[in-house]
Symmetry: C2
Subunit: 335 residues, 2 copies
């Protein structure tokens, strides 16, 4: 057995103990509702306005619980590690944040999340709460041009959707407008990820898959699953090309277009490496004449301790940039 | 050879390419001076006031270059990976940020940094710039009660020193006051770290040391060196006890005392694990009757991709909390 690599008491209590820590370290920003489990804003904001919530499996922190706060999410609903939260959790969170102007569910495109958020929406609608869903499906690795199957997975573009919807809701936009913005951001975003090493589930004896020497995993998701292809390890500039060019093609980016670029660490990749990958990402975009309007570089949508990174490009526009730049005050994202 | 784990073009250009990325991703906050290499604030702040700079080896990001910005550092001087910056770099940065009211050098206690910052101070003094040094030496693992040797190493307490000195300087405090605050914070801070896995230097074939199964490294520093003791792997709550109790003893914390608690990831440790470790840290302090006045949980002072965490406790007081809470706008720390 490999040397232990993780701080842990018991896999069964990890998520709850981590949520307790999140709350205690950020008492002015978030409050954790124990049962059913969801995280809400700790600061009082009684204005009648649209509320925005999200959620999904744990193991991706700071996503989503770390993005609760002024200017972003009103609540986040965490499941167990890599598992969807229950319908009951989502319903309770939806009721808790409703301010009479409707609630937006930002949902990454995974079957369990789609089902459980959908059931919760149905119940909330019956209870008289207006709920609309924005599905985030940016992962180009799971694109099926035939349109069959479950569609593309949702990954790091969800940061942009949550930030921009949260800013719009904070600014007083109505439900229809916030939903339209979220769908527009999601439609204009694509991501690709590579892993240099798989993640290890809490308490598991080893990583979820093994890579041969000098091999990388291309098109990985954020749940420890294998990617779509094994490729040869290469210098960072080649890896950046490998990720950026297909995204730019899928978004049909042309000279003069502007994007928000997110270089996201998958868990154990160092800040130096992410800054390097951003330099190379920007160089690829420079060569295409695509302008980086805004950048976010760091580990925001992780897959436990996976070594790797994802690159997300989001088509930008002046109204989106204004919302991106708006103040945000959450444990995981602040400006 | 193990599978590649790092994004890299060439170890010789890694730091420069990462600094280029830091600057490009945060053009409103930092500007990178290429030669000699140092990072300064990009925003104009022409007020005559004290300036605060720091620096040291790279590989600890976001420290120090990620802490340049309003309310924290005026400049940071990065060396090569785990190597001190040169006297020339420090001198140039000191001259660049001097606003006629003096410059504070915040220096972690390592021989190379002490020498090179000291030489730069001497030259700056000759050039008519008032420079004072605050040495940070919080690492309890290297405490020598006989007072011999190089003294305790500087680790994560440097965040508190930089934040509090930066806030004081931003608020118009004079040189003497900023220096006194920095020394008071450093004197009231101690840290301890454990590693679950060593770090791998960029381009090296493997980690800087190997741990046997079920073994952890107690009292590690942030430069890939071994710690002072090998201990048995244990649940997170026991590891938190192992770190917190000696720190509380060294600081002579008593029931009713208040601290700023920093739970810091050393590189590849996941946010869930750090939140868990904070929960356990707070539990140990609760049992002692020590109050957590403020907390910072995340990877701020890293050692490349080392798996592990450090815990820092800083004696707090109302004036320190006010400065800790003051606005800060840097790539790595914002509120």
């Amino acid at each position: 057995m490999a040397a232990p690599r993780q701080f842990l008491n018991d896999p069964a209590t990890l998520v709850a103990q981590a949520l307790a820590g999140l709350e205690r370290a950020n008492p002015d920003i978030v409050r954790w509702n124990r049962d059913p489990s969801f995280v809400v804003r700790a600061d009082d904001d009684p204005r009648p306005r649209v509320s925005v919530i999200s959620g999904g499996g744990s193991g991706h922190e700071p996503l989503h619980t770390g993005f609760v706060g002024r200017g972003m999410l009103d609540a986040a609903v965490p499941g167990a590690i890599f598992a969807s939260p229950s319908m009951g959790q989502v319903k309770a969170a939806t009721e808790a944040v409703d301010r009479g102007r409707g609630v937006v569910h930002v949902v990454k495109n995974y079957t369990g999340d789609i089902i459980n958020f959908g059931l919760a929406r149905d119940e909330a609608l019956e209870a008289g709460i207006a709920v609309e869903t924005v599905v985030v499906d940016d992962d180009l690795a799971t694109d099926d041009p035939t349109g069959g199957g479950p569609g593309r997975r949702g990954t790091a573009a969800v940061i942009a959707v949550e930030k921009i919807c949260g800013a719009a809701a904070d600014g007083g936009a109505d439900l229809e407008s916030v939903v339209a913005l979220g769908r527009r951001v999601a439609a204009g975003a694509r991501s690709l990820a590579i892993a240099l090493e798989a993640c290890t589930h809490p308490g598991a004896p080893g990583p979820s898959f093994l890579l041969a020497d000098e091999e990388i995993e291309f098109g990985v998701g954020i749940h420890g699953e294998r990617g779509i292809d094994r490729r040869s390890f290469a210098p960072a500039r080649e890896l950046a090309e490998m990720l950026v060019r297909p995204i730019a093609e899928a978004l049909e980016l042309a000279r003069g277009d502007r994007v928000i670029a997110i270089v996201n660490g998958l868990g154990s990749t160092h800040a130096l490496e992410l800054s390097l990958m951003f330099t190379e990402t920007a160089a690829v975009l420079d060569a295409m004449g695509v302008h980086v309007a805004r950048a976010l570089v760091g580990s925001y949508v992780t897959s436990l301790d996976m070594a790797g990174c994802s690159i997300t490009l989001v088509r930008s526009a002046p109204d989106l940039i204004e919302l991106w730049d708006a103040p945000v005050h959450t444990p995981g994202l602040r400006w």
